[in-house]
C-alpha cells in the first residue's frame, strides 16, 4: 500500500531518474551516478551481515525489525537525511552496544559500504524493484566447511574416497585439498569449481538421478539439506581448510563482549561472546551454599562439611570463593579425586583380566598418580615419566613406578594361548591407549587397514607400535601376581624401614670386620687344635629344610625333627659313599621321604645330593606324580645324561624347567646342586656339578597355574613312570633358599673339617677354605665373634625378608636388542609384512631429527608446544569433568568423525594457556572453577532444556548426577564413616556374597571383605576386578577398566535406586547419619531432619519437605516401637558398631529418614 511517504520517495526517486535520463548531455563531464536503489545496491551488502537477524527467518529475528521488506523505511530511515535515520545511526554510532552489526558477530560493514548506505539515503532511500525470488535472500547462511561440510564428506564419502588407499575407489580422494580440487578429466571434469556448484562434478554426482551414477552409492542418498549445504559451500567458494585438530592451536585474543561486568576471566569472554552472538544471556550466579558444594565435590570428590559451608557463607571478603578454591586445591583429597579420571583412562585394575583374571599388584602406581596430582606435577613431566620414565637418565624409583601406566592393560595367563598373539595384543593396547589419552585419535582403527576417515595409515600404526614393542615381557603372563618386567617398589615408609635396617646391617658388618684380625688368629688356633684323629665334619645348615644323610639309615631330618622314611619296591641297601655310607638304587626301589615342606613356583629353594649314576636316565629327588601331560610337581632328574630341574603343572605348557647342556659322567661320584629363585623363569635356575656352575638351556617358561603339592618326597623316583635311579645317592638336602655359588661349592666339598684343617693352607681350594671358615664361624668361634657373625646373618635374612615383603609393580623396560616390529597384514599377528621402525604419523609434526626414535622421544614429542592435539585433548577432558560434556563432545576422538568444538577459540585459548603456564594442572582447574561460566545457576525450564539439553551453549551452570565414586564417598563422609588414609593397597568394601564364586575359575576363591578400615576407604581404593567390577561402581556407570575409557555415559536405571536403598553400604551410612542426627542434630525431629538434610545437600531444608520427612519419621517410629526386633536388625546392619546408648526404635526411624535423604536427587546430584 502506498503511504504518503513511500509515494513521495517513489516520486522523488522516479523524478531523479527522470532528471538523469532527461539531462544526459548536461552530465557529460561529471556523469552523475544513478540514484541508488535499496534492492539493487544496498540489499546485497546487507544480506550476509544483517539478514540473519533481520531477514525473513522469524525464529531468529531481533527487535522485530526486518530489512528485507520495506516497512523499515518508515521507522528507520529519514529520506534524504542520513544522520537522522536510525538505520544509519546504528551503523556509525560510537556506542559499542548499539552499533550494528553487533560487535560480537565480528562482522561489520566497510567504510565504503557505509558511505554507500549514506548516499542511498540521501538519494532518497529508494526501494527499487522487487528482487528476484530466490537468489540473495536465501543465501543468509554462510556455510562453514569445518562444521558442516567436512563431517558430511567424512560420513558419506571418505570410506571409499578417503585416506584408506586400499579402499579407494577410482583413485579419487576427497579428504585432501589436492584430491578435492582435482580434475577428473574423462570422468566428467573438475571435482569442484569454486563458485559454481552446477559445474562441479561432485555436486553433479550427488544430485544425479541415475542410480548408477549418483553418489554415495546405494541407499544412502544425501538429504535435501545436505545437498543444499554442499551446493552453498561450492557456490560460496568451496573453501577448504585442513582438519582443525591437526592445526596447532593459536594464542587467541580474548574477545570483547558487551557485558563486561559479568566476566571474571577470559573463559567467560569466550563463552559470553558466543551467547551474545546468539542473543542469549548467561544465567545468574548460583547461591553460595550450592556453589561451595558444587566446587567442593568437583575438586575433592567429597562434600563440604556444615562448618565449611557456614564459614564460607559468613566470609564477606570479595575473594572468599577464590580462597575456598585454593583451599580445596591444596587438600590431599584433590589428588585422590583427579586420580579417579586418570585411572579410568589408564585402565587400572587389580586383576589381569581375560579368563583367569588373577590378582596383580599395581597400587604403587596409583599412589604415584595421587602424589603427582597433589604435588601439582606439570603435565609434561607427568606425561614423560609415565610413558618413558625408565629411559630418563638415572631414573629414580618414582620415575620407574610411573611407567606402570603402560602395563595396566589386561594380560592373559591362560594355558594354551599363542604367545606371539598376546605380545602383539599388549602392544596394540598401549598404542590405542596412548593415542586416545594424549591425542584423542582413534589410531586403533588403523590396526588392520588404513584409517577410513583420518589421515592415518596402517603402516603408521605399526610405527607407533614399534615404540611400545620393545619390553622384555611374557606373552603368556603369570596368572597370579605380577609379570616381568617388574620392580620392587617400597613405599616411603618401607624405604625408611629398609634404610634403617641397612644401617644396622652395615654396623653389624663393620663390627664383624673389626674383629677380623682376631677371627683369623683364632681360626688358625682352632685349626691347629684339631688333631688328625678327630673326625669333625660340618654341613651348611642355614635354611636347611630337610636332609637325608643316608649313612646306613633311611631317616631324614626335617628342620631338626626326624622324619620317618621308608623304602619302597625293594629292600634298603647301603654302600660306601663319597662321604660315609650311601644308599644304593637299582632302578626299582626308592626312598619315600614323607612330606617335606611345600615348595611352589614362588619359593626359592636348593636341592643338593651326591650321586653316582649308572644310567643316563633316572630321578634323583622329586615331589611329583605323573599327570596326563607329564610331571606334576618339582624334581631333579637325569634325562638322557643331562641334569634337569623342573617344576611343572603340565610339561608342555605350564611350568618352568631347564637342563644342562653337557652330559654327566657315569660311574663316578659327583656332587650336584640345583637352585631356583622363585622367579618362575628358567633364568632363575642354576645347576652346579662339583661346585662348578653349568650352562643351562631353558626348556619350559610358561608358568600359569599353581604347583600341586600332594606327593611325598621321593629319592630315586617320581610318582610318575619316569625311570628310577640306578646307582647311588648320598646326603640329599633341601634348602629353603638359593645357595650362592660359594655355598654350593662348599656343600660340594667332601673333605671333612679335620681333613681340611690339617692340610696346608696354601693347598686348600677356595671351597675348602670357605668350608673351614664357615664351620668355624658357625660353631667354633668364641662367643663374641659368633654373635657378631650371627648378627650379620640374621640381619641379612631380615633384610631379605623385608625386601620380599615389599610390593612390586610392573614397569616398562627397554630390551637392549630391539624386538623387530612389522606391519601386520590385516592386523593378524602371524602375518607380518614389511619391518617398520619407531615413528609418528606424518599428519602430525615430525619427531626431532637428531634424537633417537624411541619411546622417550615420542613422550617428549607429545608435549612439544607445537603438537596440535595434546594440550587441547587434555584441557577438554578437564572441562568435561566440570561441565559433563567437553568443549569437544567426543573427548576420545578429535579426528574427522569426532565432533567440532562448541567453542573453538575457547578451546585453543585454554590449550595455549595450559602450555604457556608450564602445563600447570592446578591453575587450569582454578581458572575453570573461578569463572563466571562455572558459577552460573543450573536451574532450567523445560523449554530451555529442550533447546539445549546438554548445556553446550554454557548458558547455565552444570547440574549432573555425581560420578559413582563420589556418591559412595559422599555417603561415607556424611555419615562419618569415611576413613581418610591416602594411598596403599586396594581394599575390599561390602559386596553381596557369592558374586565372585559365580564368576571365577574354581579354586580362586570368593571375595573376602576387608575388616575394619578397609570397608570405609574412598572408592578410589576399592579392589577392582576386571571381569566383575564392584557392583556399586558399575551400576553408576563407572568404566569396567577393561580398556581405556575417557568418557562415560550417565544412565538412569532402577538398579541405581535399588542400590542406594538396599546396599548395606548406604544403609549403614544412613544409620550412622541417624546417630549423628540424634547426638549432634538437636533435640526435636524437626531439628534433626534439618541437620541431616544440611549434611547431605549443604542447604536448609524447606518447610514442606521438612514436614514430609518428620511425618515419615513419626510413621516409622510407630512401627518400630511396636516391633523392636525389626528396629534392632535394621540398626545392626554393617560392621560398624552401633551407638548402644540410643534407643533402637528411634534410631531405626531416623535411619529410614536418613536413608531417604541419601536417596534424594539433591544428594546424588551436583547442583
Amino acid at each position: 500500500m502506498l503511504t504518503f511517504r513511500r509515494s513521495f520517495v517513489l516520486i522523488t526517486g522516479l523524478g531523479l531518474i527522470l532528471c538523469r535520463s532527461v539531462l544526459p548531455a548536461a552530465a557529460a563531464s561529471q556523469e552523475p551516478e544513478p540514484a541508488l536503489e535499496y534492492n539493487r545496491d544496498i540489499r546485497p551488502m546487507l544480506v550476509h551481515t544483517c539478514f540473519g537477524c533481520h531477514g525473513q527467518n522469524d525464529a531468529s529475528r531481533q527487535a522485530d525489525l526486518r530489512l528485507d521488506t520495506p516497512d523499515f523505511l518508515e521507522s528507520h530511515v529519514v529520506s534524504g537525511d542520513a544522520s537522522a535515520s536510525l538505520l544509519f545511526d546504528r551503523l556509525v554510532t560510537g556506542d559499542d552496544v548499539m552499533r550494528m552489526p553487533p560487535v560480537s558477530t565480528r562482522q561489520s560493514l566497510s567504510a565504503e559500504q557505509i558511505a554507500t548506505v549514506r548516499r542511498w539515503i540521501e538519494d532518497g532511500a529508494a526501494w527499487g524493484d522487487e528482487p528476484a525470488e530466490s537468489s540473495t535472500d536465501v543465501a543468509t547462511r554462510v556455510v562453514d566447511f569445518e562444521r558442516e561440510v567436512r563431517p558430511l564428506l567424512s560420513q558419506n564419502c571418505f570410506s571409499c574416497h578417503g585416506p584408506d588407499e586400499q579402499a579407494r575407489q577410482r583413485g579419487l580422494r576427497l579428504d585432501t585439498q589436492d584430491g578435492a580440487l582435482a580434475d577428473r578429466d574423462h570422468f566428467g571434469g573438475p571435482v569442484l569449481v569454486p563458485g559454481r556448484a552446477e559445474d562441479s562434478l561432485l555436486f553433479q554426482r550427488i544430485v544425479a538421478e541415475d542410480n548408477r551414477v549418483r553418489m554415495p552409492r546405494g541407499d544412502d542418498r544425501l538429504t535435501e539439506d545436505e545437498v543444499e549445504t554442499i551446493r552453498l559451500w561450492i557456490d560460496q567458494g568451496a573453501e577448504w581448510v585442513s582438519h582443525w585438530a591437526f592445526i596447532p592451536p593459536e594464542r587467541q585474543a580474548v574477545p570483547v563482549v558487551a557485558d563486561t561486568e559479568w566476566t571474571r576471566n577470559p573463559i567467560d569472554n569466550f563463552v559470553l561472546a558466543q551467547l551474545e552472538r546468539e542473543g542469549l544471556v548467561p544465567a545468574p550466579e548460583t547461591d553460595r551454599a550450592t556453589l561451595l558444594r558444587r566446587v567442593t565435590l568437583d575438586l575433592t570428590g567429597l562434600p563440604p562439611s556444615p562448618a565449611d559451608v557456614a564459614s564460607f557463607l559468613n566470609d564477606d571478603a570479595p575473594d572468599a570463593y577464590e580462597k575456598a578454591v585454593d583451599g580445596l586445591l591444596g587438600s590431599q583429597r584433590y589428588g585422590e579425586r583427579m586420580a579417579v579420571e586418570w585411572l579410568d583412562a589408564s585402565r587400572y585394575a587389580d586383576t589381569n583380566g581375560y579368563q583367569t583374571d588373577g590378582e596383580r599388584s599395581m597400587w604403587r602406581w596409583r599412589d604415584w598418580v595421587i602424589n603427582a596430582y597433589n604435588d601439582n606435577m606439570p603435565f609434561d613431566q607427568f606425561t614423560i615419566e609415565q610413558l618413558a620414565g625408565d629411559m630418563l637418565p638415572n631414573p629414580t624409583l618414582d620415575q620407574r613406578i610411573a611407567t606402570a601406566f603402560n602395563r595396566n592393560h589386561s594380560q592373559n595367563g591362560e594355558g594354551g594361548i599363542v604367545v606371539e598373539e598376546f605380545l602383539n595384543a599388549y602392544a596394540v593396547d598401549r598404542v590405542e591407549t596412548t593415542s586416545t589419552v594424549w591425542m584423542g585419535l582413534t589410531l586403533g582403527c588403523a590396526r588392520c587397514h588404513d584409517h577410513k576417515f583420518d589421515p592415518l595409515t596402517q603402516k603408521e600404526f605399526y610405527e607407533v607400535l614399534a615404540n611400545f614393542n620393545n619390553i622384555p615381557e611374557r606373552g603368556k603372563a603369570f596368572k597370579y601376581v605380577n609379570s616381568p618386567p617388574l620392580i620392587t617398589a617400597p613405599t616411603a615408609d618401607q624405604q625408611a624401614e629398609l634404610d634403617e635396617l641397612d644401617t644396622r646391617l652395615t654396623e653389624a658388618r663393620q663390627a664383624f670386620a673389626d674383629l677380623s684380625d682376631r677371627t683369623i688368629r683364632e681360626q688358625v688356633a682352632w685349626e691347629q687344635s684339631l688333631g688328625a684323629s678327630s673326625r669333625i665334619d660340618w654341613a651348611l645348615r642355614d635354611n636347611l629344610l630337610a636332609r637325608f644323610r643316608l649313612d646306613g639309615d633311611l631317616a631324614g631330618e626335617h628342620v631338626g625333627d626326624a622324619v620317618r622314611s621308608s623304602l619302597e619296591d625293594g629292600v634298603p641297601q647301603f654302600v660306601d659313599g663319597r662321604v660315609g655310607a650311601a644308599a644304593s638304587f637299582d632302578g626299582q626301589r626308592f626312598i619315600n621321604g614323607g612330606t617335606s615342606p611345600n615348595l611352589g613356583y614362588d619359593d626359592p629353594f636348593t636341592l643338593s645330593a651326591w650321586i653316582y649314576p649308572r644310567a643316563k636316565d633316572g630321578v634323583i629327588v622329586s615331589r611329583a606324580r605323573g599327570g596326563d601331560q607329564g610331571e606334576v610337581g618339582w624334581g631333579l632328574y637325569l634325562e638322557d645324561g643331562k641334569v634337569r630341574l623342573s617344576l611343572s603343572t603340565r610339561t608342555l605348557d605350564d611350568g618352568v624347567a631347564a637342563e644342562t647342556t653337557d652330559d654327566i659322567r657315569l660311574n663316578v661320584w659327583q656332587h650336584v646342586v640345583a637352585t631356583y629363585d622363585g622367579s618362575k623363569a628358567p633364568g632363575g635356575m642354576r645347576v652346579y656339578l662339583d661346585g662348578e656352575s653349568q650352562t643351562l638351556v631353558p626348556l619350559l617358561d610358561l608358568v600359569g597355574n599353581r604347583l600341586p603339592q600332594r606327593e611325598p618326597l621321593r629319592i630315586g623316583a617320581s610318582g610318575s613312570d619316569k625311570p628310577r635311579f640306578d646307582g647311588h645317592i648320598d646326603d640329599v638336602r633341601v634348602y629353603g633358599a638359593v645357595l650362592t655359588a660359594a655355598q654350593a661349592a662348599v656343600v660340594a666339598t667332601p673333605e671333612s673339617i679335620s681333613e681340611i684343617a690339617t692340610s696346608a693352607p696354601e693347598q686348600r681350594t677356595t671351597a675348602q677354605a670357605d668350608k673351614l671358615r664357615m664351620c668355624f664361624l658357625d660353631q667354633y668361634a668364641l662367643p663374641d665373634i659368633l654373635e657378631a657373625w650371627r648378627a650379620v646373618n640374621t640381619l641379612e635374612d631380615e633384610r631379605d625378608a623385608l625386601w620380599d615383603s615389599f610390593p612390586t609393580v610392573m614397569v616398562m623396560e627397554e630390551m637392549a636388542e630391539r624386538r623387530e616390529t612389522f606391519r601386520l597384514l590385516r592386523g593378524a599377528y602371524d602375518n607380518p609384512g614389511e619391518p617398520v621402525t619407531p615413528n609418528v604419523p606424518a599428519i602430525l609434526p615430525p619427531l626431532p631429527v637428531n634424537e633417537e626414535k624411541n619411546r622417550l622421544t615420542l613422550a617428549r614429542w607429545l608435549v612439544d608446544p607445537n603438537h596440535p592435539l595434546t594440550a587441547r585433548v587434555t584441557v577438554n577432558r578437564f572441562w568435561q569433568m566440570y561441565f559433563g560434556t567437553g568443549i569437544v563432545k567426543t573427548a576420545e576422538n578429535f579426528g574427522t568423525q569426532g565432533e567440532y568444538p562448541s567453542h573453538p577459540e575457547l578451546l585453543d585459548w585454554l590449550a595455549t594457556s595450559f602450555i604457556d603456564s608450564g602445563w600447570d594442572v592446578k591453575s587450569i582447574q582454578r581458572a575453570i572453577v573461578t569463572s563466571a561460566t562455572y558459577r552460573q545457576a543450573s536451574q532450567v525450564t523445560p523449554g530451555v532444556y529442550e533447546a539445549d539439553p546438554e548445556n553446550r551453549r554454557l548458558a547455565r551452570g552444570p547440574r549432573l548426577r555425581l560420578p559413582a565414586q563420589t556418591i559412595r564417598d559422599q555417603a561415607l563422609a556424611v555419615s562419618g564413616l569415611l576413613v581418610e588414609k591416602i594411598g596403599g593397597p586396594s581394599v575390599k568394601p561390602y559386596q553381596p556374597e557369592g558374586l565372585w564364586a559365580d564368576m571365577v575359575e574354581g579354586g580362586y576363591g570368593d571375595y573376602e571383605e576387608s575388616k575394619g578400615d578397609g570397608l570405609w576407604r574412598r572408592s578410589l581404593y576399592t579392589f577392582w576386578k576386571r571381569t566383575l567390577g564392584p557392583p556399586t561402581m558399575m551400576t553408576f556407570d563407572s568404566s569396567t577398566r577393561e580398556t581405556c575409557i575417557v568418557r562415560t555415559g550417565r544412565t538412569n536405571t532402577p538398579l541405581q535406586a535399588l542400590n542406594l536403598m538396599n546396599d548395606v553400604t548406604y544403609v549403614e551410612a544412613a544409620r550412622r547419619v541417624a546417630e549423628r542426627m540424634m547426638t549432634e542434630g538437636g533435640e526435636t525431629p524437626e531439628e534433626r531432619v534439618a541437620y541431616a538434610y544440611q549434611l547431605a545437600t549443604a542447604r536448609r531444608v524447606g518447610t514442606e519437605a521438612q514436614a514430609v520427612l518428620v511425618d515419615g519419621f513419626h510413621h516409622h517410629l510407630d512401627r518400630y516401637q511396636s516391633d523392636r526386633m525389626a528396629a534392632l536388625s535394621l540398626v545392626s546392619l554393617g560392621e560398624y558398631p552401633r551407638d548402644e546408648t540410643l534407643d533402637v526404635a528411634e534410631l531405626a526411624s531416623y535411619t529410614m529418614v536418613a536413608n531417604l535423604i541419601l536417596n534424594l536427587d539433591g544428594t546424588i546430584t551436583k547442583e
Binding site: 559479568w262 550466579e285 608342555l652 574354581g1002 514442606e1104
Partner: protein, 363 residues
C-alpha cells in the same frame, strides 16, 4: 483378540505404534498384516512391523552346559575312530587349523576314540552313549543337529562363538536377537534373562556378561543376569528390619518430595508470558530494577529484554507485570532454600532504556 490388548488400544496407542499414523496403517493393510495382532510386541520392537509374523514361541529356554564332555562321548558316535586309534590326525581333518600351546609341543597327534559305548535308542534310532541313560530314553523327543562346526580352538572364543556367532566379542547374543526380533508379551519383566550356576564339581568355565550381551543392538535387549546366590537382581531385597510397608512409606515420601520439585518449577511456568532469560532474544538488554525488598542471602540478577517501542515487552523482575513471575527465585529444588521467593504482584510496566546496565544484588 486378547481383551487386555483391547483395553490398551486407544487411537493414540494406534498412532504411537505406527508412528506415522495413516501412512503406516495403509502400508500394513497393503502387506495384509493385522496391526492389532502385533499387540504389545510392536511396542518394544525396535521397528514398527517387527516381527513380520505372529510369534508362536512364547518362551525360549536355552540350557548352555558349559564344560560338558565332548559330543564324541555323548551324542556323536564316530565308529571309525576305533579303526584309527593311535594313528595320527589326518591332514584332511586338521587342515590349516592352528594349534594351541597346550598341544603344539606334542610330537604326534594320535587319535583316541571314546571309551564309552554307544547304542541306538527310540524309534528314531538316535545314537546316545552310555553316559546319558536317562536322556536316551527320551531320544525321540529330541532333535540332534550334527552339522555344527566351528573354527575356535579354545574355550572362550568357542563359547563366544556359540552365543554370538563370532569368536571375537562384540556381537549381540542369541538371546538379544530373539528379544529384538520377537519382542515380549509384557513390559513389566525383562524379556531376556540369564541364569548361571556352578555345577557340583565346583569347577566351571567362566561365563561373561557379553555372552548374553546386546552387542550393537540397543542395550535394552541384553540379558538380565539373575545371580545364583542371594538376590537374583542385586539389592532387590529390603534390608532386614525394613518390611514392605516401611519401604512403601519411604517411596511415597520420596515421591512427595519429588513432586515438590516439579511443582515449584511449574509455578514458574504457569504464568503467562514468562520467559526464562536464556530463552529471550534480547539484543539490547535494558536495565532491570533491583528489588529493594530482598532478604536473606541470595544472589539475584534480574535480566530483562526489551523490544522496540512497538514490540511486546516481556519483562520479569520483582514487581513486574502481573503476568511475570520472578523465575530467579525458584532456585529451590525442594522448595524453600535460602533464596527468597519473589513473586510480587504489582502492575509496574516494563521500562525501556537505551543504556545497558546490569545490577547484581548480592546480599
Amino acid at each position: 483378540m486378547d481383551s487386555r490388548l483391547e483395553q490398551h488400544f486407544t487411537r493414540r496407542r494406534f498412532l504411537e505404534l505406527t508412528r506415522s499414523g495413516i501412512g503406516a496403517a495403509a502400508l500394513a493393510t497393503l502387506f495384509g498384516e493385522d496391526i492389532l495382532a502385533q499387540g504389545q510386541a510392536g511396542i518394544d520392537g525396535p521397528l514398527p512391523g517387527l516381527p513380520h509374523f505372529a510369534p508362536k514361541a512364547k518362551r525360549v529356554i536355552y540350557l548352555f552346559q558349559s564344560g560338558a564332555p565332548s559330543q564324541h562321548e555323548l551324542w556323536d558316535y564316530k565308529p571309525r575312530l576305533e579303526e584309527l586309534r593311535g594313528t595320527d590326525l589326518p591332514p584332511s581333518v586338521r587342515g590349516n587349523q592352528r594349534l594351541t600351546t597346550m598341544t603344539a609341543a606334542q610330537q604326534s597327534f594320535p587319535i583316541v576314540p571314546s571309551m564309552f559305548k554307544f547304542a541306538q535308542h527310540g524309534d528314531s534310532r538316535a545314537w546316545v552313549s552310555e553316559l546319558m541313560p536317562h536322556t536316551a530314553k527320551i531320544a525321540d523327543d529330541l532333535c540332534f543337529i550334527k552339522s555344527m562346526h566351528t573354527e575356535a580352538i579354545n574355550h572362550d572364543p568357542g563359547i563366544t562363538f556359540f552365543q554370538t556367532g563370532a569368536q571375537l566379542a562384540g556381537r549381540p547374543s542369541i538371546g538379544a536377537w530373539l528379544s529384538y526380533g520377537l519382542g515380549s508379551m509384557n513390559n513389566d519383566l525383562p524379556t531376556f534373562v540369564a541364569m548361571v550356576s556352578m555345577g557340583s564339581g565346583q569347577v566351571g568355565q567362566p561365563l561373561y556378561d557379553r555372552l548374553w550381551g546386546s552387542g550393537f543392538l540397543p542395550t535394552k535387549f541384553q540379558g538380565v543376569k539373575f545371580l545364583s546366590t542371594g538376590d537374583p537382581v542385586l539389592y532387590l531385597s529390603n534390608p532386614s528390619g525394613v518390611d514392605d510397608s516401611t519401604r512403601r512409606r519411604f517411596l511415597d515420601d520420596l515421591e512427595k518430595l519429588k513432586k515438590k520439585n516439579t511443582a515449584t518449577r511449574k509455578r514458574a511456568l504457569g504464568s503467562r508470558n514468562t520467559k526464562w532469560p536464556i530463552g529471550c532474544k534480547a539484543r539490547s538488554p535494558s536495565s532491570p530494577t533491583c528489588p529493594t525488598n530482598r532478604t536473606a542471602s541470595s544472589s539475584c540478577m534480574a535480566r530483562t529484554h526489551e523490544g522496540l517501542a512497538h514490540s511486546h515487552a516481556t519483562a520479569f523482575w520483582p514487581g513486574g507485570s502481573p503476568s511475570a513471575t520472578c523465575d530467579l527465585s525458584n532456585f529451590s529444588i525442594v522448595d524453600g532454600t535460602s533464596t527468597p521467593d519473589c513473586r510480587a504482584e504489582s502492575n509496574a510496566k516494563p521500562r525501556m532504556s537505551t543504556r545497558h546496565r546490569r545490577h547484581s544484588c548480592k546480599t
